[in-house]
């Protein structure tokens, strides 16, 4: 099932190069020629018809996402697409068709997120998308389902420090590791102004440097850090400080309030209503964190 879906996905993705309807037609022809199911691109909505209705009629949801970023969207050991973004997509499918499998994933890079919506290749993008004012002028964001930030991970045993205050107090005698990128130094300086920074080429090298006690803490996205911690329980600890917040939300093509509002309703009820159990299970699975049960009684989000 999954393989077929991905074959179709790649065809749809190829179709993107051809731009809009022509590309989709070429993609469909290629699909038919290969004897595969032709991808049914999420064609532009007819006037006055919400995408919600189009999806219901089509019988499955088309989601744009990626496949290379654990724990958000990646292939597990058996090659199945999994992750937090995938769980959110399946929740939408379940809410639409009472079947979490009725979803087609169109795999794309991060740079494909906005174009695939604008050209109607997908119904929704669920791909660790950071909400920014600039992007919000091109697409419409749903409510966020995660707040990303930078964190510090340390060894649970055998490390010199156990919490953020100690790291901060260590001053210039502290070495933190991270992957070489534009923001690394800026990030670290904001939290630990005096720390020495070792920049490595890849995340696995940073992790090994932490294991070998070459660095005292690993600077990473909180979600990546949570995923590593969930993979090897008891080996690493969170220093307990997060900074550089940014919100992850899904995005839809602008101008369809019915569809946007429906997705928002599903997301909101996942985080604090009927689907809380399934959301909390995903959260626990990918980030290793047990979410507190939403308080029963007054809906506290309006407090």
């Amino acid at each position: 099932m999954m393989d077929k879906q991905q074959d179709r996905s790649s065809l749809v993705r190829r179709g993107l190069f051809g731009l809009s309807a022509l590309g989709a037609a070429v993609g469909a022809a290629a699909g038919g020629g290969l004897g595969l199911l032709a991808p049914r691109a999420a064609f532009a909505q007819a006037v006055g018809k919400s995408r919600l209705q189009i999806i219901k009629e089509r019988g499955h949801l088309i989601v744009g996402t990626g496949s290379t970023n654990p724990p958000w969207h990646f292939q597990d050991a058996s090659g199945k697409l999994v992750g937090m973004d995938i769980d959110m997509s399946r929740l939408l499918a379940k809410s639409l068709f009472d079947d979490p499998e009725k979803v087609e994933f169109v795999l794309q890079g991060s740079d494909g997120r906005i174009p695939s919506l604008i050209t109607d290749k997908v119904d929704i993008v669920v791909q660790w998308m950071t909400v920014t004012a600039g992007r919000a002028q091109q697409v419409e964001f749903t409510i966020p389902y995660y707040r990303e930030g930078v964190g510090l991970m340390m060894l649970a045993r055998g490390g010199k420090y156990t919490k953020f205050d100690e790291l901060k107090a260590a001053g210039a005698s502290l070495t933190v590791g991270g992957t070489q990128n534009v923001f690394l130094e800026e990030w670290v300086r904001k939290a630990l102004p005096q720390a020495k920074i070792d920049a490595f080429e890849s995340p696995d090298a940073v992790l090994q440097a932490l294991n070998a006690r070459r660095v005292e803490a690993y600077v990473a996205d909180q979600s990546a850090m949570r995923w590593l911690m969930a993979q090897t329980p008891g080996r690493f600890i969170d220093a307990g400080y997060g900074w550089m917040p940014n919100s992850y939300a899904s995005a839809v093509k602008p101008g369809d309030p019915i569809w946007l509002n429906w997705v928002n309703t599903v997301y909101k009820e996942a985080m604090m209503g009927v689907d809380f159990d399934s959301f909390a299970a995903s959260y626990k699975k990918w980030f290793g964190i047990e979410l507190p049960m939403p308080k029963v009684g007054f809906p506290s989000e309006f407090a």
């Binding site: 990128n181 006690r213 070459r214």
Partner: protein, 222 residues
């Protein structure tokens, strides 16, 4: 034609970083060559004059180091030793240790060849005028051997300097690291790598020229 717009401003602004990186790379190479020379001399002596029980471990060391990629040796010393509870080496010391062991293996072979090519008659002549064994080494064998091996030693220095680029893998800020950092920060990939290449090229060429002068001054065969 190349569809790329060059912007060298980034390079000029980072010139101090490049200069520091070049100095660091040279220091790493020279220090490692110095330690490697000592190791190589001892290794060659052990292989040529030592008993089987001394020569065999040296052979093992040389073959192990020569047949494992340097990058893996760097990783082994930097990431591996702490797993065995050895923490006192920082990243630069770890790299110098690795490069010294690496240089030592090659120098062992260089010096072994050099020792073998010192003409037997020199040794006999030294014996004939009544030199003791250590005097024969000090005044006859080693000076001749050094002259014979000088070109190979210069080659090793140049090659070690280029090998310091692997230190970037363990976050040591030498030339390759700085170039990569500029790539990550500014995406001026062409400019950064071209500058690093030019610096490697010029530095290696200058080292080669200087060593050629030394060779001309000291080489035994003219």
């Amino acid at each position: 034609m190349i569809q790329y717009y060059f912007d060298w401003g980034v390079i000029w602004r980072s010139w101090d970083k490049f200069a520091a990186a070049l100095g660091l790379g040279l220091t790493l190479a020279v220090v490692s060559l110095a330690i490697g020379t000592v190791i190589g001399l001892a290794g060659a002596m052990a292989r040529v004059y030592g008993s089987r029980w001394v020569a065999w471990p040296v052979w093992l060391y040389v073959e192990f180091i020569r047949n494992v990629p340097l990058l893996l040796l760097v990783f082994f010393i930097y990431f591996g030793l702490p797993e065995f509870g050895i923490y006192f080496l920082d990243k630069t010391q770890s790299f110098v240790l690795t490069l010294s062991l690496y240089a030592g293996a090659y120098m062992t072979e260089v010096f072994r060849g050099g020792l073998a090519s010192v003409p037997r008659q020199y040794m006999e002549a030294a014996k004939a005028i009544g030199m003791r064994p250590w005097q024969r080494q000090r005044y006859v064998v080693l000076p001749v051997m050094f002259r014979i091996t000088l070109p190979a030693v210069s080659n090793n220095l140049i090659s070690l300097f280029k090998d310091t680029s692997l230190a970037a893998a363990i976050a040591i800020p030498e030339l390759t690291f700085v170039a990569r950092q500029i790539n990550a920060n500014t995406f001026r990939v062409m400019e950064a790598w071209l500058t690093a290449s030019a610096l490697y090229l010029v530095t290696c060429y200058v080292i080669a020229m200087l060593l050629r002068l030394v060779e001309r001054r000291y080489a035994s065969i003219r």
